[in-house]
């Protein structure tokens, strides 16, 4: 896992070095003299060989670094230092540290909503296979799956906030303060974003759960469970769903890890200052240090979730456990 992350830093760092941007030029402003450009380049450490730049970057993550140490105004970037954005005049670590909790709460809340809908809906659809409940659920799932999130988000904002005044406009500060400072305001702000995130994913999980349960319902051990005289609900949930849970957990782990990198559309729609908004802003302005940082953090989540999912296999399936 550590090796994977290291490879990721190499890939990200050198890929961005190949880009035809000169970060020094971008920080130089409108009146840019060659001298100023050279000075900026030196401050950013861009006059060093690429390999040295990379080493500085990696060691900076662990020990912190000082940019432009020999200049009049050195910039101290303490560990874990992911770089410094001259465009925003802030170090990347603190930019991400501000954005990450917003995205985290968005992802976690959405996850809870979509998994609940997905599992319950999937089991109901499987139990009523071919009946109207099944068809209705599948149709709703199809609509949800094909509904663009910006469209759903706009509709929700228009009706719930603007027309019916059920909720206030989203408050970025309420989200940044976390769920415990003002729970009412927090939930009021996050409810619609959660729904938007959940609808798309729930649709997928309804289908996945339904298919898993339908498959395991044909297994011999489910017949055994019926032969014991267990109530149908126990048969389906405890025996069939439990057996089909592994692929659902895999998908859920990767989905939530992907969300940690930012839900660009949802965050933009509801003006939530999360990772997605930060990423888009940085891409538009070619703010390479921030893009590098976000890519690394997103990669870190995906790699760790993969590891967690692997560990969960052992919890879910005793046959996987190493004895």
């Amino acid at each position: 896992m550590v090796l994977l992350l290291l490879l990721l830093t190499v890939a990200v760092f050198f890929l961005f070095n190949l880009l035809p941007f000169d970060p020094a030029r971008l920080t130089c402003g409108k009146v840019c003299t060659p001298e100023l450009l050279e000075a900026n380049r030196h401050r950013l450490g861009l006059d060093l060989p690429v390999l040295q730049q990379y080493l500085n970057f990696v060691t900076g993550i662990f020990t912190g670094r000082t940019l432009g140490a020999d200049t009049a105004s050195p910039i101290v970037c303490s560990a874990p230092c992911l770089g410094y954005s001259f465009l925003r005049h802030a170090d990347v670590t603190s930019l991400i540290a501000r954005a990450l909790p917003v995205t985290f709460w968005l992802a976690i809340g959405g996850f809870i909503v979509w998994m609940t809908i997905g599992l319950v809906g999937g089991v109901v659809a499987a139990l009523r296979r071919g009946k109207w409940q099944d068809r209705t659920l599948l149709t709703i799932a199809l609509i949800g799956y094909s509904m663009p999130s910006f469209f759903l988000g706009l509709i929700l904002i228009f009706f719930v906030i603007l027309t019916w005044h059920l909720l206030d406009f989203p408050s970025a500060s309420a989200v940044q303060a976390g769920p415990f400072a003002n729970p009412g305001k927090f939930i009021g702000t996050m409810l619609l974003p959660w729904i938007v995130i959940a609808v798309l994913n729930a649709a997928f999980y309804v289908r996945l759960t339904r298919n898993q349960v339908l498959e395991t319902l044909n297994e011999d051990y489910v017949r055994t469970a019926r032969a014991k005289g267990l109530p149908e609900r126990t048969v389906v949930v405890k025996h069939a769903l439990r057996a089909g849970l592994t692929p659902i957990v895999t998908a859920a782990g990767l989905d939530i890890a992907g969300l940690m990198g930012g839900a660009i559309i949802t965050e933009s729609l509801f003006s939530l200052p999360g990772m997605g908004v930060l990423a888009v802003g940085s891409v538009v302005q070619s703010d390479l240090p921030v893009i590098t940082g976000i890519t690394l953090v997103a990669g870190f989540f995906i790699i760790s979730m993969n590891l967690i999912v692997d560990l969960l296999y052992g919890v879910l399936d005793p046959r996987v456990r190493v004895s």
Binding site: T224, R242, A243, D317
Partner: protein, 362 residues
Amino acid sequence: MTLAQPRSEPGKPAAGNRERPFLSVEDLAVRFPTDDGLVHAVEGVSLSVARGKTLAIVGESGSGKSVTAQAIMGLIDRKAASVSGEVWLDDEELVAMPDDAVRRLRGLKMAMIFQDPMSSLHPFYRVGAQLTEAALVHQSLSKSDARSLAIEMLRRVGIPGPERRVDDYPHQLSGGMRQRVMIAMALINSPALLIADEPTTALDVTVQAQIIELIATLQAASDTAVILITHDLGIVADVADDVVVMYGGRLVEAAPTQRLYYHPEMPYTLGLLTSVPRMDRERADRLDPIPGNPPSAINLPAGCVFFPRCTYSDRVPDGACASRNPDLIATEPGHLVRCHLPSEERRQIANNVLGSLVGGPG
């Protein structure tokens, strides 16, 4: 499908008062509608078992024996199949009974053991948890009582170290042990009826006899009625009191075990008996397979279901075998045969065939 006719005909005593065997199946039929046509999995099967007795259902794959067992247990999905006829268990009729009422009998009054103990045990739950499930759902039992009951059951089925094994997962047990667990699971509520669906097919030969013996021992201890489904005639001879032979979803012969072995009359039964490999014959002659394949359950032959494979049908006049399904008729009290051949002719054929085997059948 439920039966439209009244349960008892006018003038006869009410159904519950009639003297019935402990388990009595009457005119059972199971049909699955499919895209290719109606599958007649079971047609007109009647059988009965008394407490403490063992009935063997014998037949090759697709003969309808497993479907018959699952229909008795109420395990046939009524949405996917139509079940008709009557199943009387201890003076209660199960076919017309609501699903939930049948479920309450399953695992309590009647239990079932399946063919493949690996796939029939849930891979993710501990042996003890799976064992006690039926006890916890049908009795009011505390968790710790259930656990000691599970250990006691494992000991009764001969699993060494039951205190440790109760916490094992199925994949940590051998095939024979898994089947012992299945048996313990089925018997945990001391059911009055036990159906064993090919309980030894997936096991090593050395373990098969142990499992059969175990079932017989436990049966004797609690006076259980047992239905043993198998295609292994060797097992049948050892433990069954009565045998019914199924072919193409129908009963073709039914008799007490000794009678069936020494005086079989239906040509199909004869074929089953002679297709057992015999070590006392030359290698080339050890097997006498029945020619041909079992019939499709969708397009059953118009006449006798066994006719296309029967080598004696030319002895029946007028080609009745091809056009008319023979009735299941008693040739002796307790011995039913479904065949157009005259009784004397059948016995003659059987004597010739069995006589040609050195040392007789079995």
